[in-house]
Symmetry: C2
Subunit: 293 residues, 2 copies
């Protein structure tokens, strides 16, 4: 790991990932051993590695898997659900399953066809539905915190995009921990300081069977373009990604006044259908989409 | 020009550059027709194109050329001074010449060899000396404003670097206009919204003879690496560079409180030798370097 000037054997690498995760959890005050933690599981390397690490560290975890109904040539959702279920049963852990088609009547590709947000790509619709469904599951099932497997490359790619467009409200809200807000459960990203290579190495060395295929809709996405560019930068100057992210977290405190109390600058209203907060009075974007379709 | 969805013939392109420059000067309140404007001239396309445009628009201009004593294989400083002088005499304009070696005893490469700032590359020493000497010339000769030929690619490359390292004080100060401060003359960048391709096209179409060689020390610099990366982004999404810069200027107003009165957050003290402001009481970095060498 050039950015850390560190080389480890298999045994010490696995231990290092666990130690660093515990450190991040404490450093960013994400949750404690008493909290009921719900892990958002996609079946990919990051979320399964995260679940594995949290379980080893002795946290009280369950998983939630959302079947998006994405098939492609590789039966994407079918395969990833099987892998998530296998991990849960191998480790004797509870996995909640949500199915978009059975719960809301349509798959992600079907929603995206009938919605103007999804005209070119279903990614925007998919993000909206996942955020809603994750939060819904976590609140209804009584969990204290929702955790996601976002790694440093994910965070840096989003940060890069928000900086290119100087989206000040998004910059303000990007953090390893998003506190609770009426109708929104707290969200945490314990893997936010790990490079993607590191989470992949963990999953392989820990013998986790994970979904290796990328989502068929991700080809040519801005996120992937950004990641390629940032990899070039990292290659030219090792440690750039980590420094970019950590210095951002530090700078935020200087540039955004009253950040603690004011992560959401806009007033929020509860949606009359689902109760989740929305920036305008009336139905939230999710419920408008589902009821209209 | 993909970013503007605009294609112009030679005649209208030259006119467009002049019109847009006038618009920038007014938009960012850079200077007026009554101000005595000193143009920092390197002999390259940007500074000579800028001088040409300002002259055509009827501003009261003179130039200042700083001979840095950089030779390389191509007699860099000799050739660029000749081209700056030719432009001035062809257009019947005043050009002040400063020579680092005769004024301060050493060339840029010589200063950089004896100074720890210049250990790997003389760029840091060169920037320091140029900033000092420009400001010194402008104040002593009684000009109202110093203008530089920085184009959009220059500005975006610096912005990108400051964002990667989240250098909040540098971000705060990056602007098309830097107001006067005791000992510092105002600085303006009328070309900050032009792509490098546009200033190059102007220089060629206006038949300006300019220095085509890059500074021999610029090879492999961070600035050039950044520019290549940003060109890739621009290629993938036309207009990215312009949007990145303009949205930054807009976002600055939201994220930095009291920007007008508070561009310099730190207290500044006059250097006892040259009188220019410095963040600590005592000699400024420039005078320390010159007196120590």
């Amino acid at each position: 790991m050039r950015q850390h000037k560190l080389a480890l054997c298999k045994y010490h690498f696995l231990e290092w990932v666990c130690d660093q995760t515990e450190r991040n959890i404490n450093k960013y005050k994400l949750f404690t051993k008493n909290d009921r933690v719900l892990v958002a599981v996609s079946g990919g390397k990051d979320s399964l590695a995260l679940w594995d690490v949290l379980n080893k560290l002795g946290y009280l975890t369950a998983g939630v898997y959302i079947n998006l109904g994405i098939l492609g040539n590789d039966l994407y959702s079918v395969k990833s659900q099987t892998l998530a279920e296998k991990f849960a049963s191998d480790h004797n852990l509870v996995l909640h399953i949500s199915n978009i088609k059975s719960e809301y009547g349509k798959t992600i590709p079907e929603f995206s066809e009938t919605n103007k947000r999804g005209k070119s790509k279903p990614c925007s619709v998919c993000g909206l539905i996942k955020r809603h469904t994750m939060n819904d599951n976590a609140s209804k099932l009584g969990y204290d915190v929702l955790v996601t497997g976002h790694n440093l490359d994910d965070e840096v790619s989003v940060l890069f995009n928000n900086v290119l467009g100087w989206q000040v409200d998004f910059l303000r809200r990007q953090a390893p921990f998003i506190p609770a807000k009426e109708g929104l459960i707290p969200k945490a990203k314990p893997f936010c300081r790990f490079y993607e290579r590191e989470t992949a190495a963990y999953a392989i060395l820990a013998n986790i069977e994970y979904m290796e295929d990328e989502c068929p809709f991700s080809v040519g996405s801005t996120t992937i373009e950004n990641k390629e560019l940032l990899n070039q930068l990292e290659h030219q100057r090792a440690g750039t990604k980590l420094a970019f992210y950590l210095k951002f977290l530090k700078a935020k405190k200087d540039i955004f006044t009253d950040l603690e109390n004011d992560m959401y600058t806009e007033e929020l209203f509860p949606c009359p259908i689902c109760g989740q907060p929305t920036p305008k009075p009336g139905y939230c974007t999710f419920c408008r989409m589902v009821t209209r379709s």
